[in-house]
């Protein structure tokens, strides 16, 4: 029973990591940059939805849509202003602007919305399903998050592999110059990538805060790093990989706490990560692409 409870907690936590990791890996896969501001876009999304629901009394569904709209615009603006001018230089430089952007968003949020935590109202309520005479309970938000994860993963995979824009994205990720020669507008493609990634961030923010309802300007930071870890764990750039990586990470974290030690759980998570990467150097689903000599 304990095992099952742990597994369910792990799945719920993991699904939150997974949903963030999906956006992360999407942007990484296409723009080839580690967008360290992703976690902070999540935070903004959660705030927008929070204000929509609690201050303006908007229905949660519209709250989410509004959050997605705001984040989409924000994501595209960030890309245009801060990342686009650096497209020709090594991605490490963009990493640094992304970090600057992350500082910026956190501090702007603090000035706008004060550093005081707010309690997020779950968009699907706090109900849970009780099994085995209430010995085991699964919260609805966990189920919704997992379901959302699967849907998003499926839609994203399909989109990238089958649509024209999806193919343009893959082409841009490999060689922007050659993609242009195919008639692909690199600017548009990357903007769309960021738009999708940021809209996903908004969804992730809402689900994250529905499951773990504290909302602060720094709310996105740690989940952002965890999601980055999850994305790498699953094989960065791989959409199903991000999902699997996120869920694995959640489960390992909970099992580490439950069966090893709550004090050492962080070390356990990261040690497992290192071991997995030693065995599979490109993550769980990452393709080992050998350079032809």
């Amino acid at each position: 029973m304990t095992f099952l409870s742990y597994l369910i907690s792990g799945l719920s936590l993991g699904s939150v990591y997974a949903i963030i990791a999906l956006g992360y890996t999407m942007v990484y896969g296409i723009a080839k940059m580690l967008n360290f501001a992703h976690g902070d876009v999540i935070m903004v999304g959660a705030y927008v939805c929070f204000f929509a629901m609690t201050r303006w009394g908007i229905n949660p569904v519209f709250g989410i849509l509004l959050a997605m709209a705001v984040c989409t615009v924000l994501g595209v603006i960030i890309e245009r202003l801060a990342y686009k001018p650096l497209r020709a230089v090594p991605s490490l430089f963009v990493l640094i602007t992304a970090i600057g952007m992350s500082y910026f968003l956190q501090n702007a949020a603090q000035l706008l919305w004060t550093p005081n935590p707010k309690v997020f109202t779950s968009v699907v309520g706090n109900a849970s399903i009780k099994l085995f005479d209430g010995q085991l309970s699964i919260s609805v938000i966990a189920i919704v998050t997992i379901a959302a994860c699967f849907v998003i993963m499926a839609v994203l995979s399909w989109y990238i592999n089958n649509t024209k824009m999806g193919k343009a994205m893959r082409a841009c990720s490999e060689d922007k110059g050659a993609a242009q020669l195919m008639g692909i507008s690199v600017n548009l493609t990357i903007s769309v990538t960021f738009a999708i990634g940021s809209a996903l961030a908004a969804v992730a923010g809402v689900l994250l805060c529905s499951a773990y309802p504290t909302l602060m300007p720094t709310t996105g930071a740690m989940p952002g790093i965890k999601a980055f870890t999850a994305a790498v764990f699953g094989g960065i750039g791989s959409i199903p990989g991000a999902m699997i990586g996120g869920i694995m990470l959640g489960i390992i974290e909970i099992f580490g706490k439950g069966y090893i030690s709550t004090q050492l759980s962080d070390a356990v998570v990261f040690a497992v990560l290192i071991i997995v990467l030693l065995v599979k150097p490109t993550g769980i689903l990452g393709k080992q692409i050998n350079e032809k000599v």
Binding site: P85, L86, V89, S261, A267, F270, L278
Partner: protein, 355 residues
């Protein structure tokens, strides 16, 4: 290599030291600046050593603060344990520094083994993981000393050390180390910077350094001409982490307290920002970028609440400007216009320095 003009590097550092010493003796240095001299030195050593990994070896590391942490804690433990046995500060300081460097170097070696099998972002995540593990472990670690020697305990609390009457707890789990006697001085810090520069610059401009850079540029080609990848990756990694360890000791011995939380992901990122902003592989750039970026938040204190916001904006703008071709060209043309040909070399340096 042109961008690592050694005379410029040593010259700037030594001149800066002399000028600051003169100003200090004239009482013209504010407490604020004076208080930052040692951390600046420590961060310079951090940046220079990280540049060895990121700029010269070409591997992204997101856990450099982990090595700093190991150096800080082991160095301070050494320092505090030797307090009665070795009262004079200079040798005690040097021994602590060596202990810190040695432990961090060993950690670098251990983490270097998985590093060899991974590239790019996978390596980055392993270093990040390593930094987190170190932080977590030190938070659970208790070390004390009494007449019987050092005592160690894990996952408990300081009582489990069973210290004798009069023994002292050195590392107290999440409380870290408190009551450190400040041994670090600007002069010690300056000396460490010189040593670090000497090691890194000479390493880069030697047979081993060339091999390390070859790995960065093209691993397959390097193998094809018989360069042992494992050996040189490890060499760069261990040197880099040992120097970070020394920087950690210097840093820790400047404050009366340190905690594991100080050396978290954000600190690793901060040092990475210094390195990238200063230029990959560009040691002089690392020194300047570090100095400017450490002082900048202090200069921005006037902005009060907007301080970190302004810092973020400055960071982004500097990044955009330094990578903007038009901006660089305009700057070059401007410099060409204002300054006669033969002075350009030197003047360009100062323009960068003030940016």
């Amino acid at each position: 290599m042109k961008k690592n003009n050694i005379f410029l590097i040593y010259g700037t550092v030594i001149a800066a030291y002399i000028i600051i010493q003169l100003l200090m003796s004239a009482g013209a240095v504010t407490s604020s600046l004076r208080g930052q001299l040692v951390p600046i030195c420590a961060y310079i050593v951090m940046a220079v050593s990280l540049n060895l990994t990121v700029g010269v070896l070409g591997e992204l590391s997101l856990g450099h603060a982990g090595f700093m942490s190991i150096g800080a804690f082991t160095g301070v433990v050494a320092c505090m344990s030797l307090e009665s046995a070795l009262p004079p500060t200079l040798p005690r300081f040097v021994i602590s520094l060596l202990v810190g460097a040695a432990f961090a170097g060993v950690a670098g070696f251990l983490i270097g083994i998985p590093v060899l099998r991974l590239n790019g972002d996978y390596l980055a995540i392993v270093t990040l993981a390593f930094g987190e593990i170190i932080k977590n472990i030190i938070n659970c670690l208790y070390v004390g000393i009494d007449s019987r020697g050092l005592h160690l305990s894990f996952l408990t609390n300081s009582d489990a050390l069973n210290l004798e009457e009069g023994g002292t707890v050195i590392i107290n789990g999440p409380m870290g180390i408190a009551g450190i006697t400040k041994l670090s001085t600007f002069t010690f810090g300056f000396a460490l910077v010189l040593v670090a520069l000497f090691i890194v610059l000479n390493l880069i401009r030697s047979r081993a350094g060339r091999a390390i850079m070859a790995l960065r540029d093209n691993r397959i080609a390097a193998e094809s001409i018989g360069i042992n990848v494992t050996k040189y990756k490890l060499m760069a990694f261990v040197t880099s982490s040992a120097l970070a360890g020394a920087a950690g000791t210097l840093f820790a011995l400047n404050y009366s307290t340190i905690t594991a939380a100080k050396f978290n992901f954000n600190t690793s990122i901060l040092v990475l920002v210094f390195v990238v902003l200063g230029g990959l592989g560009n040691i002089w750039g690392s020194i300047i970028a570090t100095t400017v970026l450490v002082i900048l938040p202090e200069l921005l204190r006037e902005f009060n609440d907007y301080r970190m916001l302004v810092y973020a904006i400055v960071l982004i703008l500097v990044m955009l400007a330094t990578n903007n071709a038009t901006f660089k060209n305009t700057l070059r043309e401007l410099v060409n216009k204002i300054i006669p040909e033969k002075l350009i070399k030197r003047k360009e340096g100062t323009t960068d320095g003030n940016s």
